[in-house]
């Protein structure tokens, strides 16, 4: 495939545009999409870029269909992806559930918006529950929560590779602010950076005859007996647990010598890290922990943090969706948990600093 980005370059663009470019660099073959704010421009840019690079686009009649057409693309061996938000993410969960069970590497970019509602299209972090565990299975999926445009680019590429390497549906979890905001970043060709590009291959219509040099392609999403289903699910869970240490990513700053650790993900983590730095400068012993993969969650790393500091402040633009993951990770350990929950609203570093100074008995 012809390289979409010839040489490394510094650019200034919106997050939606970054996702389209990231998908191009990740050698995505086709995007399937349906209009929903704030991800529309992923489609707009893709429809303009794709023909120039021999890639394809298909608009469907809803997100249910966008998800299943993505599965169709994947079955044919194409690096296929879709992008959506809010109510569209809900409809997407059925195809994702099927992809989990059939181990199909579909890739999705989610630009979170406030909800449940149709008009609040600007920003939120309220799709964490849905994106990490929205299906009717065991949530065997990979979710990368990005914070900057550079990460949107990096993790879009990574999402395609992780999906095709491990064969689990993979999400890039952004939000409306990241989608619509402009920010500088460096675009590069992943191969030049030594990124190993996981190969894609067809699931159906494979070359050759089965029995003569290859196994038959036997794909199932219907099990007649619960015992049979149990075996398949358990096998997937074992695979998932085995690869978890290779996938898990997080950022941990100054957690070793801290009286309080601020936990945040996505764009809110930028406010949190700024707050942590400022508080540190002022003499407060504050640490910062950010899960980059929300699924699988960096359980081991967070439990390690808890052994040195057992006080946490969870900050998120949702009502306890990240906190749920944190509590689950820390189950059985003794920990105190404070919170700043602001569903659908942006959170500034000043807000966090004020909260820490007012609420905690931490001394300078």
């Amino acid at each position: 495939m012809e390289r979409a980005i010839k040489e490394e370059k510094r650019v200034f663009m919106t997050g939606n545009e970054v996702v389209a470019w990231g998908a191009l660099a990740a050698e995505a073959d086709i995007m399937y999409g349906y209009p929903i704010t704030p991800q529309n421009e992923v489609m707009h840019y893709w429809t303009r870029l794709a023909p120039k690079h021999g890639r394809k686009f298909l608009q469907t009649e809803d997100e249910l269909s966008a998800g299943f057409t993505t599965i169709g693309g994947v079955l044919a061996g194409r690096r296929a992806f879709t992008a959506t938000a809010g109510p569209g993410n809900i409809l997407l969960q059925e195809p994702v559930s099927m992809a989990e069970m059939m181990r199909l590497p579909m890739v999705m970019a989610i630009m979170q918006r406030g909800g449940p509602s149709t008009a609040t299209v600007i920003y939120s972090q309220q799709e964490v529950n849905l994106t990490t565990s929205g299906g009717n299975g065991e949530a065997l999926r990979i979710v990368y929560s990005t914070a900057t445009h550079q990460e949107l680019y990096d993790y879009t590429i990574k999402a395609f590779n992780a999906a095709w390497k491990y064969r689990f549906p993979t999400f890039i979890l952004g939000d409306g602010y990241q989608a619509k905001m402009r920010e500088p970043l460096v675009m590069y060709n992943p191969q030049d950076k030594g990124v190993e590009m996981a190969a894609s291959e067809p699931f159906v219509g494979k070359e050759g005859k089965f029995g003569e040099g290859r196994e038959p392609a036997h794909l199932r999403n219907a099990f007649s007996m619960e015992e049979e289903l149990y075996e398949v699910v358990m096998e997937h869970i074992q695979d998932y647990n085995k690869i978890t240490p290779q996938i898990v990513e997080y950022v941990s700053l100054g957690c070793e010598e801290a009286d309080l650790v601020i936990v945040a993900h996505g764009i809110v983590s930028r406010a949190a890290v700024a707050a942590q730095e400022k508080l540190r400068r002022e003499g407060y012993r504050v640490g910062f922990f950010r899960p980059i993969t929300l699924r699988p969650f960096p359980v081991r790393a967070l439990r390690k943090v808890c052994k040195s500091t057992s006080k946490f402040l969870v900050v998120e633009s949702a009502f306890g969706q990240l906190a749920r993951l944190v509590k689950e990770a820390l189950f059985g350990l003794e920990a105190e948990m404070d919170e700043i929950f602001m569903p659908g609203l942006g959170i500034t570093s000043e807000k966090i600093i004020g909260h820490v100074k007012k609420k905690s008995e931490l001394k300078v």
Binding site: G33, P35, N40, H44, E61, D62
Partner: protein, 340 residues
């Protein structure tokens, strides 16, 4: 008829049920249409609205343009919610909790909410036979989210997801025919209407209201920013769509087709297309293709409209049967146990 249309607004109630001050763009064809539809519907209605331009512009809380009971729920389910309201009202009436006066249940949605994501809910509601009126305001793309193509976008129109390039110039598929789809459900009434012909529009709304069972109204709604037209041209464009035969005004009343705005001669489609930014990249060949298709469809519609007496057709079929029975009919008779 067309002269009378100029004065049609005067025949309507002066009461506004779709209040001014909403946030529609200037020249919004849909806002004009909604205002007239609401005037025809009157006060005794309950409305369910799908997500779309009209929902966004008419209900920025705490303001509302709706002087009638109106609810917005989500994108795909206007017909489902209307079904629920209708069934609920029926139950209330049966229990004697509300009086017997007629309350019209209305569903409204755009072309995306009707022909794409809402088609399943609409089909279900039509099949179940709920007594309601469904109004589709067709602006021929997803205007609310930034002009993406829908299945109601006409051939050749440029949208953000069907851009014009070196190879393609806009939408590559033909507009989905919602009239044929809804009529195929054998509903008692389906009609097209345009804000350029208010008298006709109002008459159809009233007919739809009086119809027992589901009624479907497809209203063309020119969109200045989406179509690339001047705000003051939108009603003129709606009129041209009718006069070119691109959007013929007709109704299907209990299976009978009737053209309500007859055209002696079709205006060339070029006059309609060249006025719009979205068709700027149309090649002469594509223009030709559109003209041919419009003529063909107009002819088909006229043929359907002329077959007014269905029994005439039946006689013809009967004589054919006497001449030589078809294979299928023979098999059927054998299976039914009739003498061969």
């Amino acid at each position: 008829m067309s002269d009378a249309n100029v004065y049609a607004v005067k025949t309507l109630t002066s009461k506004e049920y779709f209040a001014p001050g909403h946030r529609a763009c200037s020249g919004c064809g849909q806002a004009v249409a909604v205002r007239m539809v609401q005037k025809a519907l009157g006060r005794n209605i309950v409305m369910a609205s799908a997500t779309g331009c009209m929902e966004v512009v008419s209900s920025p809380f705490p303001q509302s343009s709706w002087e009638v009971p109106w609810i917005h729920v989500a994108f795909e389910n206007a017909a489902a919610v209307a079904s629920g309201i209708e069934a609920g009202l029926k139950a209330q009436r049966r229990k004697g909790k509300i009086d017997g006066r007629k309350i019209t249940v209305v569903a409204m949605a755009g072309d995306g909410g009707t022909a794409d994501i809402g088609l399943q809910a609409l089909s279900g509601a039509l099949e179940r036979g709920h007594d309601f009126l469904y109004v589709c305001y067709d602006n021929e793309a997803y205007m609310n989210t930034g002009v993406q193509r829908s299945s109601a976008t006409p051939f050749g129109a440029v949208t953000t997801t069907s851009p014009a390039g070196r190879v393609n110039s806009g939408q590559l598929t033909w507009k989905k025919n919602m009239m044929r789809i809804t009529a195929a459900h054998d509903i008692p009434y389906a009609a097209t209407a345009s804000p350029s012909h208010p008298l006709d529009l109002v008459e159809k709304v009233k007919k739809g209201m009086e119809t027992e069972g589901p009624a479907y109204l497809h209203v063309l709604s020119p969109c200045p920013p989406g179509w690339g037209i001047a705000a003051e041209d939108s009603i003129q464009l709606a009129r041209l769509a009718v006069e070119t035969g691109i959007f013929p005004l007709y109704e299907i009343d209990k299976g009978k087709h009737r053209i309500t705005m007859n055209l002696e001669k079709l205006v060339p489609v070029k006059q309609y297309l060249k006025k719009q930014g979205r068709f700027r990249r149309l090649s002469p060949e594509m223009m030709e293709e559109i003209q041919e298709r419009v003529c063909k469809e107009w002819q088909e519609l006229r043929e359907k409209a002329e077959q007014i007496d269905p029994s005439a057709g039946a006689d013809e079929a009967l004589s054919k049967e006497q001449e030589g029975e078809t294979e299928a009919a023979k098999i059927f008779r054998v299976k039914a146990g009739a003498p061969v």
